[in-house]
């Protein structure tokens, strides 16, 4: 308990210094990527969609009713990302939910569900875009969930539960942020310093909103997982989520 509040206090200190903007995680806007790069990120992401979809199809063939659960899982991720995460000075930011989603549903399923959520965000709240969906899906629905999943499976049992969950969620956010900066830097290298300078530049600009977000989402995910363990053990068990002490 004591250590958890230490984390909260630490997060608060960082949030005060940076002051998060009320912003959605880094969705590259429609029309922002040149055609070739937009196409490239679709090509990179499509294999993940195919494998994820095939895995979902296999599960659904065994248990047809799982599709209802999947529908609600996508909706849950969408609604979670509409939550305003608190910051100290009254400003706020939105969590991505990818870390929690990867822990609950696994990274392959999450690559499909996360992409549906991104498509819905483009079509329902005008965040993101259609031509940039490939790039956004790679950073948010592929890279984030896989990082979270690797940490979750790799560290489970070797470190305290709260630390594993915190690292999984926070590093998922950070990897999304790093990949998006990379995507922008590749598309728009600096005329003076080239790709490296451009990467540093975009990284520095978006650090203002993304680093506080990663920390507060990490804390939030720890609290959610704790609450789930105490009050939703039956549901977690029904989903066969591994690594959770029910």
């Amino acid at each position: 308990m004591k250590r958890r509040w230490l984390i909260v206090a630490l997060g608060a200190a960082v949030l005060i210094t940076f002051e998060a903007q009320p912003a959605y995680a880094m969705h590259i806007m429609e029309g922002f990527l040149p055609p070739l790069w937009a196409l490239f990120w679709f090509v990179v992401t499509i294999p993940f969609w195919l494998i994820g979809l095939r895995q979902i199809q296999r599960i659904v063939r065994e248990k047809p009713e799982v599709r209802l659960l999947l529908g609600f899982a996508a909706a849950f991720t969408f609604v979670l990302s509409a939550l305003k995460l608190p910051s100290v000075t009254g400003s706020s930011s939105h969590p991505t939910g990818t870390g929690l989603g990867a822990i609950l549903f696994g990274p392959w399923v999450m690559s499909v569900l996360g992409s549906i959520v991104l498509l819905f965000q483009a079509l329902l709240i005008a965040h993101g875009g259609l031509t940039t969906l490939g790039a956004n899906a790679f950073s948010m629905a592929v890279a984030g969930p896989f990082v979270a999943w690797l940490i979750w499976r790799g560290l489970a049992g070797r470190a305290p539960f709260w630390l594993v969950v915190f690292l999984a969620a926070a590093l998922a956010d950070l990897s999304t942020y790093v990949i998006t900066s990379l995507q922008l830097a590749l598309a728009y290298p600096d005329p003076v310093g080239g790709f490296g300078a451009s990467f540093a530049k975009f990284g520095a600009i978006f650090a203002v909103t993304q680093i506080p977000l990663a920390i507060s989402e990490g804390i939030l995910t720890v609290l959610i997982m704790n609450a789930l363990q105490t009050s939703a053990a039956a549901e977690l068990e029904a989903l066969e989520i591994k690594g959770v002490r029910a």
């Binding site: 909260v8 608060a12 903007q21 880094m26 969705h27 806007m29 429609e30 029309g31 922002f32 937009a38 979902i56 047809p64 009713e65 599709r67 659960l69 999947l70 529908g71 609600f72 899982a73 909706a75 849950f76 969408f78 609604v79 979670l80 509409a82 939550l83 995460l85 608190p86 929690l100 499909v112 569900l113 549906i116 498509l119 819905f120 483009a122 079509l123 329902l124 709240i125 005008a126 965040h127 875009g129 259609l130 031509t131 728009y188 600096d190 005329p191 003076v192 310093g193 530049k201 975009f202 600009i205 978006f206 939030l220 609290l223 959610i224 704790n226 609450a227 789930l228 939703a232 549901e235």
Partner: protein, 257 residues
Amino acid sequence: MLRVIDRYAFANRLRAVDPAQKAGLAVLVILLCLTLDRPLVGWLALGWMLAVAIWYARIPWRVVIAVLGAESTFLALSVIGVAMSVSFDQPVAARWMTSLGPLWLSVSNESLQTALRLLSRALGSAAALNVLILTTPLVDLIELLRRLRAPALLIEVMTLSYRAIFVLLDTLEQMVTAQTARLGYASWRATLRSSALLGSRLFVVAYQRSQALETALHARGFTGEVRVLPLCYRIDRWLWPIGAVVVASLVVAGWWP
């Protein structure tokens, strides 16, 4: 924002128009903005698309502008990022520069042009996408995806989650009201605790709702597929000529010397 866009998507003059027609126009404008890639094309597309949304689809201009501004934070930050160059050596041929410790921040004519081109292109294509999402409910877009032979499973999951989003959002709002009434958001620490409770309870609600839906469907002879009847659409006669004029003007603007 979610409810605003959804409301106008269901209540505009182009609601009953075939989604393929509206999506065709929007996608064509986006592709032209991307491939022609000139500031003039971007600004022209922005103008046309705002005009179509406000005068043809009869969506209040405040709503159109607000939706376009949804991503202003990202746009502003990244356009500044493209315009600025960072280097350790003093840049030559810069329009404006300043030193920040060992770092030099500079803006050159070239980078400024790229940034302006990017700004117009992003605004033009975002406006085109906004015309589509403000005139077409998500159910119609999902129907369009079905016609384009997207996997049936994907279509089903999307249809279900579109409904589930509003169910969960209503639940979320009730819970937030209840928490606020009990001073759940009175301090930073309370806010964090309330958010966590909200997230975990929402997960349980989502799970239980899906179970309840399963029971209900089984009671009605559920065999593993959710089938929905397609809606009837009309073809808008005037949207073709409007689209032709828009596309022609964009192409001319793109090739103009």
